[in-house]
């Protein structure tokens, strides 16, 4: 119910929303949870395993129960915490994990079957018979498992990623965080203050105490106003710091658009990577419950959240409230409730020496035995002085103590330390380099202690940053001691709940211990305690205490589970923001791209590049028709292809030739100016790295090419060899891949086409290169071929690429030629036995591809020592061969090769196929592959088997060079 005169909501701005299809009203400033409480909605979800009706337990991001689906026009977001979701006009929310409705959930039958569904149920039940697993058990479990539902559609929502940098990151804007930020910002440090709530202030927003003689909320407002006025401080509300990573990097999730009606282009969330020289963790403390029978009934809540709902949101979850605690923190809440007109029936304080409370009955040494009310608490029974009493209440606030929010201090392997005084884990100092912990997160609970430790943490951080924190009068505030007498569970019959989110009871943990799962990590996995979306924030310590008790050890000896990032759930969409569609990877476009698309060429991805696959003619209905025509065109007239994707590296300097001799297996230094040589690069382990050409443009000036696939790899390799082994040599190299557009012109008419384009006949012998002028533009001409025909490559500065491509294609067409794409290029090179990275795939040596003579015996080079090892050559190795099927059947790359008559198996495989294509020149499918001792087996018949695709074809082993083996056309 709504309480008049309380809360920080804006009562002038009513908001309507729906929950499970019913319309409700709330106010701007409400969370979905506070608005549901205002509307007396008590059951908000069904539990994960037993489908028990559940209500709101907390007022923060640690909420285990109130997980809902938020439905937007483009998104359906499951497992949204109603305690975090801010209300906005038109919000549509649905409860989860119930069918058909929240009040009638047929899977509640699980609750009746509870005796059979204890810890380890899945492990024990779904084991045998084994064959049932796939067909029966898994579908069954899948249907029952999971909480919210996804829409099943792509998430079309907008997400964002961003970087931020600062001197000091303050995590949490409660009393400690505000004080730390204030001290640091006044001293001039560059500060970011993050808080996961919409409004900063933390518990001061629901605290009725005084700071410096004014209400805590007013003091908070004044501090925030000052902070907002400082240019060196950035406030980041609605931002949860989710992880602490190496070297001062923090992950944080900001809710940008989740709290308002969708707006075009507004990100839903932003995932921040914050780089901070220092940080202060002031994340506060999380309250925990006490386990007793049916303590999960809707209306049983954590006591601190009652104060938050009342003072911050102006709502009360009950009219008749009792409080059950083992510490004094509920007293202020009791007073607030009473002052607001809520009937506080009793304080059940388990401490026998608990103080009195004026105007409120306090039962000292009392324990709650059981809560009653399946769809909402209506009464409870408690033990006091040996007798059982009943109380009619509709809300029970429970406080089993406070756990400092140590999570981030564990992200770099820090282990929190047990404090007997607080009956809680406190952070290990220095667990995250550069991070200080302050306030309740460090176990300092009073307002005064929070302010003091925030200021102290700031001063220490400033000192580390080389700044002076200056003098500061600490504001006056309450400094009540925190007294707790640990109480984890109330013994008794029935089920007492520890982990509400994953339905783990005290008995489950005890059973786990009995069955030998005595390590906390084993217990956790066996019972699933702490493994739900809330990661056991309100249950871990109690479960640990129960385990300690069951195993007869103390809590510190029992250990603690490891907290890992993220602190709260982070949507994958936020972490991968911008990575969908075109944002997945950069797209590289050729200068000929539009010209190719104008000709309806389908584009194929080659690394990041988009290259034309083929250029279809109107009458052609299949790619094969186009490909066959383009191959014949190159063999018979002339074809033009954009080869600008090849890596091009310009090498200059007196020691350039020496360097090339070192990185290529063959000798380059002997190459005359104006000539090109094919070259092979090895990895240091003796395998082939890449192949390409090496053109000597001048005495000390070279241009080398790499394959498209390995351009980046080769640059990195050359940089390594240069910087690691010969940095002092007089040479430099730089990539010019992007600077030049380069086109292959191949076929019997290639020379005529080049002559036409240049306006003069190219006087260039095979493997020659020369500067040329192309229609007024300075370019370069190379006589090299990847097709086996007479071939040239003509390069011009990139800006002229499109014009030159269109020009060359137009000229080619007048000669009966035209453009050719990747498919034809591939067939042409297979016919000729030229390799690509399909062949030099990282496990082949120069010997394997028949190029062992290219490893010069006269000099050292990268990879030579390893290439010379006995195992790197010889008959046992699979050597490159050609394969020609005896029939017209299709053959496939990836197929294995077998000698005829052997049983097919992994052990009998004699090789494999790397490239296939249909050769219109030879009217046959052709393949390149590797076959053991292959060069000695030309003429032999082998079986080519691809069991995945059902291929089993006999092939003749041949030389890999099918077309023009003597290279007469090439040199024509």
């Amino acid at each position: 119910m709504r309480i008049d005169g309380k809360g920080r909501i804006d009562r002038t701005r009513p908001v309507t929303f729906t929950f499970d299809g019913r319309p409700y009203a709330g106010y701007r400033g409400d969370t979905l949870a506070s608005a549901l409480i205002a509307n007396d909605v008590r059951v908000v979800g069904r539990s994960f395993k037993y489908h028990r009706p559940r209500g709101i337990l907390t007022a923060g991001s640690e909420e285990p129960n109130a997980l809902v689906e938020v439905v937007g026009p483009a998104n359906q977001t499951p497992n949204t915490r109603a305690t975090v979701q801010e209300l906005f006009e038109g919000l549509v929310a649905r409860s989860q994990n119930r069918w058909p409705s929240l009040s009638l959930d047929l899977l509640e039958v699980n609750d009746l079957a509870a005796p059979f569904l204890s810890a380890g149920f899945y492990y024990k039940t779904f084991m045998w018979p084994r064959r049932f697993w796939e067909g029966i058990y898994e579908p069954l479990i899948r249907r029952a498992a999971g909480l919210g539902r996804l829409s099943g559609k792509h998430d079309e929502g907008v997400y964002e990623k961003a970087w931020a940098h600062c001197d000091l990151l303050v995590i949490g804007a409660g009393p400690a965080g505000l004080m730390a930020a204030l001290v640091a910002a006044r001293a001039g440090a560059d500060v970011i203050l993050c808080d996961e709530s919409a409004e900063m202030g933390g518990r001061l927003l629901s605290d009725e105490g005084q700071i410096d003689g004014m209400p805590a909320a007013d003091w908070t407002a004044a501090v925030l106003a000052e902070l907002a006025s400082l240019p060196n401080l950035r406030l980041m509300p609605r931002t949860t710091v989710t992880g602490a990573y190496d070297d001062g990097t923090y992950g944080a999730l900001e809710r940008v658009g989740l709290h308002r009606s969708p707006r075009p282009n507004l990100p839903r969330e932003c995932f921040w990577r914050i780089v901070a020289k220092r940080s202060i963790l002031a994340a506060g403390a999380l309250e925990r419950g006490i386990a007793f029978q049916d303590n999960d009934r809707p209306g049983v809540m954590l006591a601190g959240s009652l104060a938050t709902y009342l003072n911050r949101y102006g709502v009360s979850p009950g009219k008749r409230v009792a409080l059950f605690a083992n510490n004094g923190s509920v007293r202020a809440t009791a007073r607030s409730l009473k002052a607001a007109g809520v009937e506080v029936v009793a304080i059940l304080d388990s401490r026998p020496d608990a103080p009195d409370e004026p105007g409120i009955p306090v039962h000292k040494g009392a324990t709650v035995l059981r809560a009653r009310g399946r769809m909402g608490l209506h009464s409870l029974s408690f033990a006091h002085e040996g007798r059982v009493h009943a109380l009619e209440v509709d809300c029970l606030g429970v406080s089993g103590g406070w756990n400092p929010a140590v999570h981030l201090t564990c992200h770099r392997n820090g282990r929190p330390r047990w404090s007997d005084e607080l009956a809680a884990f406190v952070p290990m100092e220095g667990a995250v380099p550069g991070m200080r912990v302050a306030g309740a997160a460090a176990g300092s609970f009073s307002t005064h202690a929070c302010l003091a430790s925030g200021a102290e943490a700031a001063r220490e951080s400033l000192a580390a940053l080389g700044r002076d924190g200056g003098a500061l009068d600490l504001p006056r505030a309450e400094d009540a001691p925190y007294r707790i007498a640990p109480l984890w569970t109330v013994p008794g019959k029935g089920r007492a709940w520890l982990d509400f989110a994953n339905d783990v009871t005290v008995k489950d943990v005890t059973l786990a211990a009995q069955e030998g799962f005595r390590s906390v990590e084993h217990m956790k996995r066996y019972t699933t305690q702490g493994m739900a979306p809330d990661q056991g924030k309100s249950s871990n310590v109690a479960a640990l205490a129960v385990l300690a008790d069951a195993t007869g050890r103390g809590i510190p000896e029992t250990g603690t589970t490891t907290f890992r990032p993220p602190y709260t759930p982070v949507s994958i969409a936020a972490m991968g923001a911008g990575g969908r569609g075109a944002g997945f990877a950069p797209q590289r476009f050729l200068t000929s791209d539009q010209a190719s698309r104008d000709r309806a060429a389908p584009m194929v991805e080659a690394g990041l590049w988009y290259r034309p696959s083929y250029f279809p003619k109107p009458q052609e209905t299949t790619w094969r028709e186009a490909c066959d025509r383009e191959v014949r065109m190159v063999r018979e007239t002339v074809g033009v292809s954009d080869v600008s994707t090849l890596g091009k590296i310009d090498v200059q300097g007196p020691d350039a030739a020496r360097f090339l001799d070192f990185v290529y297996s063959n000798t380059m230094s002997t190459l005359p100016v104006g000539k090109v040589r094919y070259g092979l690069m090895l990895r240091e382990d003796g395998h082939v790295l890449d192949d390409g050409t090496c053109a000597r443009l001048g005495a000390q000036h070279w241009l080398i090419t790499t394959t498209t696939a390995a351009a980046g790899l080769v640059m990195r390799h050359l940089d390594f060899v240069h910087q690691a082994f010969c940095a002092g040599w007089q040479l430099r190299f730089v990539s010019v891949t992007e600077a030049w557009a380069q086109f292959a012109i191949a076929g019997p008419q290639a020379r005529a086409l080049v002559a036409s384009a240049l306006g003069r006949a190219p006087e260039l012998g095979f493997m020659g290169c020369a500067p040329v002028t192309v229609q007024g533009v300075a370019g370069r001409l190379f006589r090299i071929s990847f097709s086996g025909e007479e071939g040239y490559e003509l390069a011009v500065p990139t800006r002229f690429g499109e014009a030159l491509f269109r020009d060359l294609v137009a000229r080619a067409e007048t000669m009966g030629g035209g453009p050719y794409g990747m498919e034809a290029l591939n067939v042409l090179r297979i016919e000729k036995g030229f390799i690509t990275h399909a062949e030099i795939h990282g496990r082949v040596t120069a010997f394997d591809i028949g190029m062992e003579k290219m490893v010069s015996g006269k000099k050292d080079c990268i990879g030579k020592a390893a290439a010379m090892r006995p195992g790197m050559q010889g008959a046992a190795r699979a050597q490159m061969v050609g394969l020609k099927p005896l029939s017209d059947d299709v053959i496939t790359a990836g197929a294995h090769l077998f000698a005829q008559g052997v049983d097919l198996g992994r052990e009998t495989s004699a090789g494999y196929v790397t490239s296939v294509g249909y050769s219109p020149t030879l009217h046959s499918h052709l393949a390149l592959g590797f076959l053991a001792n292959g060069r000695a087996r030309h003429g032999e018949t082998v079986r080519l088997v691809d069991r995945l695709r059902g291929v089993d074809v006999l092939c003749t082993v041949t030389s890999p060079v099918f077309h023009d083996p003597k290279g007469e056309k090439l040199r024509a």
Binding site: R263, L266, R732, V734, S735, Q775, G776, T798
Partner: protein
């Protein structure tokens, strides 16, 4: 016979979102200068510009010498061919004019926009600074031009992706300001 027609990397029309403007800069001559060991100072002397220390730009007249990586600087803008010829033996010289697309990003939210794209703290950068870094997955030469003004150079073949990603970041930043 017609001469070949030169095309810009993008030919894009400038866009503005929430006071931040993205534009394609006119193509300038870019010459990569990679001094041989020990020759950096000599290269600078020939050009009348200090060879830039890492992360800095040397300016003189219409020409700028922009640090572009290990033992590498880009001479952007005019330099007489004879001056470049004088570098023979001192440095490897390559024409990179066509290798890069040059974009400019200006206006008050520029630093905020770049925070979505570049992993660096660009607040308070001043003319004279340059960064080799990444624009998402793309290589980037990022030149600070003054308050809220940057020149961005990335591979020419990636120009469309760069433009798309920058504009997307601009649009998202703009959507926050209401």
């Amino acid at each position: 016979m017609p001469d070949l027609i030169a095309k810009p990397a993008l030919g894009a029309v400038a866009v503005t979102h929430a006071g931040c403007t993205l534009a394609e800069a006119a193509a300038l001559t870019i010459t990569a200068l990679a001094p041989f060991p020990g020759q950096a100072a000599a290269v600078g002397a020939e050009l009348g510009l200090a060879f830039p220390a890492p992360n800095t730009v040397s300016e003189g007249g219409a020409a700028r010498l922009v640090w572009a990586g290990r033992d590498l600087a880009f001479l952007i803008g005019g330099a007489a061919p004879e001056r470049l010829a004088a570098l023979n033996g001192l440095a490897a010289v390559t024409d990179q004019s066509d290798a890069w697309v040059t974009l400019t990003l200006t206006g008050p939210p520029t630093v905020e926009v770049l925070a979505r794209l570049v992993p660096l703290d660009l607040r308070g950068t001043a003319r004279g600074q340059v960064f080799r870094t990444g624009l998402g997955h793309m290589p980037l030469v990022l030149i600070a031009e003054g308050a809220d003004s940057f020149t961005l150079m990335t591979f020419r073949s990636m120009a469309r992706t760069a433009w798309h990603e920058i504009e997307e970041a601009m649009v998202k930043v703009a959507a926050r300001s209401f």
